[in-house]
Point group: D2
Chain length 350, copies 4
């Protein structure tokens, strides 16, 4: 029997509403490369959501592609991008950023988050360094919302980062692969409009919130960034789908009747049940995550019992033979799956 | 009223069989990045089709990505890839190959096809040039089957190219974005097995033959090429979908019960009706294409009449104010659309 | 006995004036990376020569490096550089431009020169092409003065090119590896100031005109191009010498008392003697070159006689078994060498 | 009056023996790009020095270029190079490595040195990580000998690193920009032959040991690394001088009659006098360096007194307002300069 999976938030297909729209639009004839009516509507829906009708919106197939294209577009050849060392672009994108010639400059993270003071200190030291003309020039700050550890910036902490960026001429880019889980978290004090107001570019992840694939890049103030030839760059990076409608249709469905938020809220809510179950057993966490990724620290015997029935990711070894693991929920996580899991957790020895 | 479109072969959605399998498998839980059972089955089906159980098969999202990844993987930093000047990588991929550091070395095409004698002449001159250590080293030959002009290599002409490649240590890569239209053409004397036998790498295009997206790269003799870290490279190029199942499912459907060939045969057959209609009017063609792309040369008045009711691509200006245009059919081109078009052609003034 | 060499203009060491200054300054202590007084003086001398005190001047070690750095600096990621197909960046720089991600877009040359009409036609077709968003965006024009075939633009022909560049937003870059031979040619109607007035960037070649190495890049209107981080880019490209003084000292010597022009005039004058000798024998030329490179077309027997005593470059095979070859003179070509050569030419059978 | 400079080891010109050979060979005619007799002799002298007649030797203009070319040649597209975080390629090469698409993977340094245990731990964790297919693949280890802090590996510690490299299939590359200072240090237990025996590639720095410019790359076991097209790569990277003789002549001089070692020994010996002077005053050091770079930690008042008469590099701020600085000696550092400095040090307040 297959184990119930809590490995990731992309282990099922797509929201039924998306499949229905793919089905009903299937035989419509439309021009390629995003020059179709669904894509136009999807862009309009996203602009509304961000509260900025002047936003420039582009669609791409996946997150690595999106991060790479945005960073390549906004940096000049000698500039690098600053990220916490656990940042996705720093670890799990196979050197995609470097493959375009740009260094990822890493700063230590705090539960996956960048600290504005660390950033300011780094920039002050860089600026004061008489040899800095021989160094990669910091040109951009990359943060994830929610982070790779499920944690969240507050409006204050992100504003603080924004302030440093302003002081030192750095652009601010928010990786929103899991922005749905972020903005719908009970711990969040920001919505899409807040994010749009604070950064130079961000993306709204589809893949991890109910789409088959697809990410929507938003430049909220397009007149302040150089977007010349960006569509050509997307093509060059292999991110321009011939049947661009495939992504347009999905974002059209996701931003109709609040599906995007519903999906994310469901994932978060299922994750909170898992969090509560571990908490009640006194099982500690690697970080206190208010979103759909939970990182309990298990003893070996707890891990043996849980992994016999459920699959989830091992994250990192801890002291005393314990193991930090990740349980991840999605728009599709069923109550049955959660009940089975929390029931098993409830029977664990502390 | 919207015009009937003959612009491309990617202007509709997906074959119903594909949508049905997406639907029925939607809630299956599966690991990401192509580590799912559908992808495994699809790879196995493709290996059977190519007659080489030892083939290495990889899936990627789109054609530009696929060309870029294969070329980057197989070339060393100073090597370039040879293509006819009309080749897709040379013209319509926004410099994607160059963006990875490799030059596209162009030779003149003959109706879109590379001539083995041209290739041999180029290689002989290169080898004899005492300054060639200062030049880009030719490392690979890229051809399209069918070509950008819908034309086909024969088994003999492709074997001749293969022979030159062997003589000069060049790898041979076949872009099969439209391999379906090629192998099902009545003018073709090659099937997938022949292609697999003649080249070092080729890909089977999904996007232009009924899939929503997706291309299948095949290395028929994996032990003779360096595939080390190729999955990592696909990730680096942004070509590894988190929900890899999306492509696996589609190729599973396409290579079940011959859907892939049925789709292509339908497109070709509809194109032949268009070809006949123009031929009967004595309207000449840019090239004699036996596949789903037809390039009639229209007078201005013919173009005005046709473009009032149908949309198609303008290709290139010809003498006397005439215009070469492209009509393209697909798996989804209806008899009604063809009847309407051929009827209008039948009424044109020669 | 070693043959007298007419292979290139970089087969001897350096002008004695340069060696003398290297010697006399040898134990001066100076900061590295071009932050030394000799480099400052050299920059000032070059600014005077170009008639533009506001020029930005940078030094680099070699021509490939210089072309690569300038092109990388001035192009955005999706832009390419236009060159005639015989252009140095297109043929003999091992794909250096492509290695930074940029395509070299080639147009046919006319005796090594770009024709403004060809350029305009290309740009008009590109602009009119509805698919051009999928193509490399032309961003710059590269020309050589003198060209790879020793030929020269006139003020009119270069102004015509400049006009097209202006009309289509292209930057104009002049490779001046042999600008000395160009501006001192009796056929030239342009000096350094004219070049500086017509282009966005050019370089003054040292290596081929009496220096050990070194090229001086000039941006005559620095406020109109983006030079941000250009020193860092030079470092990134490996073009920033630790002992930057080495290049500064040489250009200081070259632009003191007109040495640069004297060297070039000498090379041209020696070449004219060779040209006359061939002309008097009725031996034809590949092109009519007014500078230090001469390309006579030899019969096999003429080639056998000459190559027994002199070394020179074979250029390309011609009809009837004849061979175009290159004789190249330099600042160091002696009268004895010229006499020996012209004497042998004089005895050839026509 | 100009201050006496102890900023770097490249602030003077070249050893008189080098200038003399440049002078005496100046009018010799020689082919370009290193195809001259001086370059051949220099390669032969270096092969002798490394004790490996089968070594492949190449010359390049500078260190950044050399590091970039070697790393680009030996890595495949998804591989990265491991360095301590203070490594030159990680900090002071303007992202040159990343500009060729490769990540610099950093490990913490210990006084500038890589620890074999750290390396083994990193590789063990990488190998065990189930997601490592999505990460940059470690392909090479880069170390400097002497390090950026003047410190040295012992034969044992470098052998330990070599062992880990062997266990995990990593190539080992030694940056020898200051290998002269290293092998002539009294603290060293390795000579060139030992280095050649332990690594896959290393380079012998000319610039920082008496040459005007130039580095000699050595592949001691050329049959075990892929050097195909390496000369073309050097050209592509802009590292192939037209007048290649310029570097050949210098290395010919440096490895005739032991000049290379004499230069380095002189620099070290002068540095030891500085070290003693600081030590006698009880002034501490950032690290205990046995080579030509010394890093005393000065109080503000000590710094004021010294910097009034001498120039040197500030390195990093320390606690209590103190400052770590660098004094660097070279082949050209005079006894007068040392006496003046040690005299001033002797009068400092502790």
């Amino acid at each position: 029997m297959q184990k119930v999976k809590f490995e990731t938030d992309y282990q099922e297909g797509a929201s039924p509403e998306i499949l229905a729209l793919l089905e009903s639009s299937n035989l419509e004839q439309a021009s390629g490369y995003g020059e179709d009516p669904h894509t136009s509507r999807a862009k309009e829906l996203i602009r509304r959501e961000t509260g900025r009708p002047e936003s420039a919106v582009y669609f791409m197939a996946g997150g690595t592609q999106t991060n790479t294209a945005v960073i390549k577009q906004l940096l000049s050849p000698c500039e690098g991008v600053i990220s916490v060392s656990t940042g996705h672009i720093s670890v799990h994108e196979s050197g995609a950023i470097e493959s375009t010639g740009h260094k990822v400059i890493t700063l230590p993270g705090h539960d996956g988050l960048l600290d504005a003071d660390d950033l300011r200190e780094y920039m002050a030291a860089f600026t004061a360094d008489p040899t800095n003309e021989h160094m990669v020039q910091p040109g951009m700050v990359y943060v994830s919302y929610s982070s790779e550890l499920g944690t969240l910036y507050t409006k204050q902490t992100l504003s603080d980062i924004k302030k440093v960026c302003g002081d030192y001429g750095l652009r601010l880019f928010v990786d929103g692969a899991r922005i749905g889980a972020a903005v719908t978290s009970e711990a969040s004090d920001m919505d899409m409009r807040d994010i749009a107001g604070l950064c130079d570019a961000f993306y709204i992840g589809g893949t991890k919130n109910g789409a088959l694939l697809g990410e929507a890049v938003v430049f909220p103030k397009p007149e302040t960034v150089n977007l010349r030839h960006f569509t050509t760059l997307i093509k060059q990076q292999g991110g321009l789908l011939a049947k661009g409608r495939l992504i347009g249709i999905q974002f059209e469905a996701l931003f109709t009747d609040g599906l995007y938020y519903r999906n994310a809220r469901h994932a978060n809510s299922q994750a909170m049940k898992i969090k509560r179950a571990f908490t009640e057993k006194g099982i500690p966490f690697l970080v206190d995550s208010p979103t759909n990724q939970q990182f309990p620290i298990l003893t070996q015997s707890q891990h043996e019992i849980l992994s016999a029935k459920f699959s989830y990711e091992t994250w990192q070894p801890m002291d005393n033979g314990r193991l930090a693991v990740r349980f991840c929920t999605s728009w599709a996580t069923t109550d049955e799956a959660i009940d089975a899991l929390t029931d098993t957790i409830g029977k664990l020895q502390a």
